[in-house]
């Protein structure tokens, strides 16, 4: 999956989990927990939505790598 598709998939997934997050909040450096205020259940749901829409399953051990929007995009692009 290329970077652009991945970014789109990530944006859509975040929008689904946290509908109140505005697209302009989705800067690359935004941290999912601290900046977008996703709690652990939201985050789990995000991982689930990503798996459903892109087929990329993020194991728990890789959670630290996907703590930011860019991190998640890179991960999805690299594994999809």
């Amino acid at each position: 999956m290329n970077d652009q598709d991945a970014r789109q998939a990530v944006g859509a997934a975040i929008g689904k989990v946290a509908p109140d997050v505005e697209p302009e909040d989705l800067e690359g450096g935004a941290r999912l927990r601290q900046d977008l205020e996703l709690d652990s259940l939201d985050f789990l749901r995000l991982v689930q939505v990503i798996a459903e829409t892109t087929g990329v399953d993020i194991p728990e051990a890789d959670y630290p790598a996907v703590a930011t929007v860019d991190g998640l995009v890179t991960y999805v692009a690299g594994h999809g």
Binding site: D20, E37, L41, L44, A51, D57, E60
Partner: protein, 493 residues
């Protein structure tokens, strides 16, 4: 005949807005069936019936905001069980397919939600042939028309039939007596009075007999103003107001002073949901801090075993059934609360009532600000997977604003898990009438001395805010220590 009243959906709830009826007049409801969706300052909740019977009529319109304890619908017991009733505002007769269009039309204008009634005649009670006024008379007299064989044309049930049946059962007599003592000039039979739902509700609350009023509304309908002008200067009705809300032991002070009645059309959600929620939280927390002598304890939980177990378990699982640390913390809290009953229950009327079930309130931060703390019922009996599923469901619905009454009203102890978003420790404010609040901080890797060695372990700070009227620090400390112990054997949670 029973009024279905706006229930209290939490100690801080003062009023609610009916946003949807989940039943319609004529429906048979069992105890526990969902009746309406109610918007509180916090969220939209589905509320259930506390009694069994037939929905006779709605007393409020969609969109009306009313105080807790206000009758919002009438639910009639099955006719045979009907006690002699005092004159009630007219219940819309159960419409059925046998009614001719012109017989229905005047009624349809009175039915609060004709849309719900229309075309659904199939749900009405089995249709003995009967005209609406006679049906209403039967209803008022507590006569089951289904058991009368009609003597009119085509077996139609007539007024005489109904009156005979009522006399036979004695219900009619008692009914007339009851009326005679209470109403100065009782009409011989219940007279239908055109009136708006609001007027009927006010009348029911204020003890005004609608049939004694001259209506000034369209078609002579009795309006809200007519009802208010018909209020006797001195109302002997306080006892009725005082018996207001449903029977939950922990509902807030029931009596809605009558003087406030006209005010009840309060503007809904002043300044938006977030602000009214903020006000509700502020009021409740002020009350808590004023009434509850809090004491606070804190301990550090060793989560090495719990996190190792969870991570190993999650590796075997698809993402849809993975666990989060909160699930383990919640389960351990529920088990500990079961063992230390002084933490689990309600303090009402000057005494503590421990609860046999552990209904674990989970504080859920809402995205637009504020929080709600709905309950995971019998959390101590759930497996971790069940608890996790319910937690996802509950949090999802809390955020979407769709909780059920029981979930909001009956947590017996609450957990706040603010650590999930980063803080190391959180000292909660107890939700009255509960007596304890547990707070979990962030799960962190920390240096940990063990057996003379320094290592790194996952740990989190657990805090307890508890009610000194019920327990002391020693007991509270035991409760926190028990949570820690339970987390050392996560496979048994």
């Amino acid at each position: 005949m029973a009024d279905f009243r706006m229930p209290s959906l939490g100690a801080d709830m003062e009023h609610g807005k009916v946003v949807e009826w989940l039943v319609k007049p004529g429906d048979y409801v069992h105890k526990g069936d969902l009746v309406a969706a109610v918007d509180t300052d916090k969220t939209v909740m589905d509320i259930e019936s506390f009694q069994e019977g037939v929905v006779a009529e709605f007393l409020v319109d969609i969109g009306d905001t009313v105080d807790v304890g206000t009758p919002i619908a009438r639910i009639t017991a099955t006719p045979a069980e009907l006690p002699p009733s005092q004159p009630q505002p007219p219940a819309p007769p159960l419409t059925s397919g046998t009614l001719s269009p012109d017989a229905r039309s005047p009624l349809a204008t009175e039915a609060p939600t004709p849309a719900h009634l229309g075309a659904e005649g199939g749900h009405a009670e089995p249709s003995a042939k009967i005209s609406p006024p006679v049906r209403h008379l039967a209803h008022t007299l507590g006569v089951d028309v289904g058991r009368i064989s009609g003597s009119g044309d085509d077996g139609e049930v007539t007024r005489d039939d109904v009156e005979r049946a009522a006399e036979a059962s004695g219900a009619g007599e008692r009914h007339v007596e009851a009326r005679a003592t209470e109403v100065p000039s009782p009409p011989a039979e219940a007279r239908r009075v055109r009136s708006s739902p609001l007027a009927r509700r006010l009348a029911a609350e204020l003890g005004v007999d609608l049939s004694g009023l001259a209506g000034t509304g369209p078609g002579g309908a009795v309006t809200e103003e007519d009802v208010l002008s018909g209020v006797p200067p001195k109302k002997p009705q306080t006892d009725e107001a005082a018996e207001a809300p449903p029977s939950d032991a922990h509902t807030p002070e029931p009596g809605v002073p009558l003087e406030e009645a006209p005010k009840r059309q309060r503007p809904t959600a002043v300044g938006g949901k977030a602000e009214s929620l903020r006000q509700a939280i502020g009021a409740l927390m002020s009350r808590s801090k004023k009434e509850i002598p809090h004491y606070y304890l804190s301990t550090t939980l060793d989560l090495a075993a719990a996190m190792a177990w969870m991570q190993a378990a999650n590796q075997q699982r698809p993402v849809s059934s993975r666990l989060v640390p909160s699930a383990l913390l919640l389960k351990a809290t529920a088990l500990a609360a079961k063992e230390v009953p002084d933490m689990n229950g309600f303090f009402t009327k000057g005494a503590f009532q421990p609860s046999s079930g552990v209904h674990l309130g989970v504080a859920v931060a809402l995205r637009h600000g504020g929080l709600v703390a709905p309950a995971l019922h019998d959390a101590d009996t759930l497996t971790l997977d069940e608890l996790m599923d319910q937690l996802r469901d509950l949090v999802g619905r809390a955020r979407a604003g769709r909780l059920q009454r029981a979930e909001m009203a009956d947590p017996t102890i609450t957990v706040t898990n603010l650590g999930d978003l980063g803080v190391e420790s959180v000292y909660g404010v107890i939700y009255p009438p509960q007596v304890a609040m547990v707070g979990f901080g962030k799960v962190l890797e920390q240096p940990w001395a063990h057996n003379g060695m320094l290592g790194i372990r996952h740990a989190a700070t657990a805090t307890l805010s508890a009610d000194h009227r019920v327990s002391d620090g020693l007991r509270g400390g035991r409760f926190l220590a028990r949570i820690d112990e339970l987390l050392q054997a996560p496979e048994n949670l």
